[in-house]
Subunit: 149 residues, 2 copies
C-alpha cells in the first residue's frame, strides 16, 4: 500500500507535469485511506483537518490528473459526485463494488471471472476493451435483516 516514488516521478516527467507538494499531499491521502472511495470534497475536508491551505480547485485538478495518469481510478456510485481510489500497483483493478440500495454501503468484492467475459465481448463487439467497471446493487446483510423483520 505504498507508492513507488521513482515510478511516480517518471510518470510525471513523461507528460511534463510537475510533482508539486500539493499533488504529493493529495496522493498521500489516498495512500493513508486505503479502500476508501474519496470524493473531491472528502479530500478537501481531510486537507482542512490537517490545516492545509490547498484550494478545492486544486483538489479537482489533481484528481483529474492522477486519474489521467492511471494512478487513481475514477468511479461513480450514484450519489452525485465522482469518487476515486488508488489504482494499486498499476494493474487494472480486479474488484467490483456491491452497493446497498437501502443504506448506501459500498463493499468491495474481488473477482477475476470478468476477464473471460471481457475477451468474449471484445471479440463479438469490435471494441478494444481497456477496462471495465461492474456494480452490483442489492441489500447488505444488515438491511436485509431489517426488511425481513
Amino acid at each position: 500500500m505504498s507508492i513507488n516514488m521513482t515510478d511516480l516521478r517518471e510518470k510525471f516527467r513523461e507528460r511534463q507535469y510537475k510533482l508539486t507538494p500539493q499533488r504529493q499531499t493529495i496522493l498521500q491521502i489516498f495512500v493513508d485511506h486505503p479502500d476508501k472511495h474519496l470524493s473531491a470534497e472528502d479530500v478537501y475536508d481531510i486537507l482542512r483537518q490537517h490545516a492545509s491551505d490547498i484550494g478545492l480547485a486544486t483538489v479537482y485538478r489533481t484528481l483529474e490528473l492522477l486519474s489521467d495518469l492511471d494512478i487513481l481510478q475514477k468511479m461513480e456510485f450514484g450519489d452525485g459526485c465522482n469518487r476515486y481510489e488508488l489504482n494499486q500497483n498499476n494493474t487494472l483493478h480486479h474488484h467490483h463494488h456491491l452497493i446497498c440500495i437501502a443504506c448506501g454501503l459500498v463493499k468491495e468484492f474481488e473477482d477475476d471471472l470478468l476477464e473471460t467475459l471481457e475477451t468474449v465481448i471484445a471479440r463479438k463487439s469490435n471494441f478494444t476493451i481497456t477496462d471495465h467497471q461492474v456494480k452490483f446493487y442489492g441489500y447488505c446483510q444488515e438491511c436485509q435483516k431489517k426488511r425481513e423483520g
Copy 2:
C-alpha cells in the same frame, strides 16, 4: 416496444401516484426513442420540439419517479448527468454498455453470462443482489482505426 397501460395504471395506483398527462407524455418519449439513453435535458428538448410546456423540474421529478417504479432504468456514463432508458417488459436488463473513451459512443451489448457471476457473488458476499450494471471502457472500431493510423 410498448407499454402495457393496465399494468402501468396498477403500478401507479399501488403507490398512490397519479397518472397525469405530463407523466404519460414523458414516458411516451422513451417508447418513441428505443435504445437511446436520454438525460433530463434531452427529454426536455424533445418536449419543446413538440411544443409541450412541461417544465424541466417536472421532467426531473418524473424521471426519478419512473425510475423508482422500475419503469425506467437510471444510469451514468460519466458525462456529468443521469441518463435513463426503458426497463423492457419489467424484466431485469440483460444488456451492458460499451463506452468509447475516445469519442463517447455508447453501444449496447446483450449478454447473460453475468447471471452466473451474480449467483456466485451473492453467495460469497452475504448481499441479496437485485440488479447489476456493467460498463466496459475501450475504443470503438472507428476510434481504434484513427489511433492505428
